[in-house]
């Protein structure tokens, strides 16, 4: 069950060339790049593990691609995403975030229902 978080998850998995192009786009905008990974893709999991530190002041994608390569080697069966961060006033937030690695099989989520008063149900997601 494909987790469709991230800006491009409905397209076929991005090739390295496509990833590089997106990184160049973010660098062109003056955004900082960060690589994060996790084995817990719950939609409310805000804080994935950071791979190294966020990278500021880069002019070229080569450095990020090298870090991505290293991250993939170290975290073979986890989700990896790349974030691009914009520190300008009025934003100060992530502007682009997309998946660059998924585990070979994605187990997905099961919806847990807890019946409450009346017809109300309390919902939560569990990893399968």
């Amino acid at each position: 069950m494909r987790v469709t978080q991230g800006t491009f998850s409905f397209l076929p998995d991005l090739t390295d060339e496509q990833i590089r192009a997106q990184i160049e786009y973010a660098l062109g905008k003056g955004w900082a790049l960060g690589i994060e990974f996790t084995d817990d893709p719950h939609p409310r999991n805000t804080y994935w593990e950071m791979w190294g530190q966020p990278m500021f002041d880069l002019r070229d994608a080569a450095g990020v691609m090298a870090e991505l390569r290293a991250c993939r080697e170290a975290t073979a069966e986890q989700y990896i995403r790349i974030n691009a961060f914009d520190a300008t006033r009025g934003f100060e937030t992530v502007r682009l975030s997309f998946m660059v690695q998924r585990p070979a099989t994605e187990s997905g989520f099961r919806l847990q229902r807890e019946e409450s008063a009346g017809r109300v149900v309390r919902y939560t997601l569990q990893r399968r």
Binding site: M55, L58, R59, D60, A61, A62, G63, A66, E67
Partner: protein, 299 residues
């Protein structure tokens, strides 16, 4: 995305002049000639390198195999002879010729690359390298990386990483090492890996007295000052004396002298009574130069 069909014949000749015009490096080379005083052997080498790279491009167009040329360089010479300035221009030239993706310059010394404790160096060096990727990395006084007398020194780690990148990521980064000629030679002898990876050694001779005077005049012009006749003569004497004294740093020393002359001019004008004309505000007089300690030193 579209492959060239096989039945279109490859070009059999190339117009180098047109290629030259296309890359627009002509304007950069002209700028180089105009903005940098002297340095004629350096300028000649740069033109040679540019021509070589242009021909490499042309060969590529005609379908000849070309492994990417090695571009790493070593600049040797005394301080203040224009090494950093030329490195910056070189980055622009490489970019225009298509050998540097972004064409920016990152300028560092040993302390930027080497850490203070175990495990500190590798991330520090990689950080710098990431920033320099796509452009040119200029390492000033590179020989300080190598301190064999201190066993706790972490410079060796930085050296290994640099050597690896210089060999394996030539299309991502060009490295320029710089420093005093004799110390660089010693450094290369102890670290032969560098010498074999460097394609171009360029020596930066000291400026002669006329060139130094020209530089001083340029500085004045840029700052919108002018030198009186007397000041010019005094400056010539200053240069002759100063260069014999220790720690002479060519253009940098001239800049310092110019700044001190401006201070003295300001002091002199301040002591005057009455209105000061625009022309006086702009002019440096002989006394502003002759007050320097340099003139008293051999007494």
């Amino acid at each position: 995305m579209n492959a060239t069909p096989n039945n279109i014949p490859k070009p059999t000749s190339v117009d180098l002049r047109a290629l030259y015009a296309e890359t627009n490096i002509g304007s950069l080379l002209t700028e180089l000639d105009k903005d940098l005083v002297g340095l004629s052997p350096v300028k000649r080498r740069i033109r040679e390198i540019a021509s070589f790279l242009l021909v490499a491009r042309a060969r590529e167009r005609l379908g000849f195999s070309s492994a990417p040329p090695t571009l790493h360089m070593a600049f040797t010479g005394n301080p203040g002879t224009g090494k950093t300035t030329v490195a910056l221009r070189m980055a622009g030239i490489l970019h225009r010729l298509g050998y540097s993706r972004k064409g920016h310059l990152v300028s560092v010394t040993r302390d930027d690359l080497v850490g203070q404790y175990i495990g500190h160096t590798a991330p520090k060096t990689r950080e710098i390298l990431k920033r320099a990727m796509g452009g040119v990395l200029f390492i000033d006084e590179a020989y300080y990386l190598y301190r064999p007398e201190n066993e706790k020194d972490y410079g060796q780690e930085a050296i290994e990483i640099l050597l690896q990148v210089m060999e394996n990521q030539r299309e991502d980064l060009t490295v320029i090492l710089a420093g005093y000629t004799d110390r660089m030679n010693t450094f290369f002898q102890s670290n032969p890996g560098f010498r074999s990876r460097i394609a171009h050694h360029i020596d930066f001779p000291d400026y002669n007295n006329d060139e130094l005077l020209q530089i001083a005049e340029k500085l004045a012009e840029e700052a919108e000052y002018r030198l009186s006749e007397g000041a010019r003569k005094a400056l010539g004497e200053y240069i002759t004396l100063r260069r014999q004294q220790p720690n002479f740093a060519n253009a940098r020393s001239l800049r310092n002298a110019f700044d001190r002359a401006r201070l003295r001019q300001a002091e002199r004008l301040f002591q005057r009574e009455g209105a000061i004309s625009a022309s006086e505000l702009v002019t440096l007089e002989a006394s502003d130069i002759l007050a320097s300690r340099v003139f008293k030193m051999d007494k």
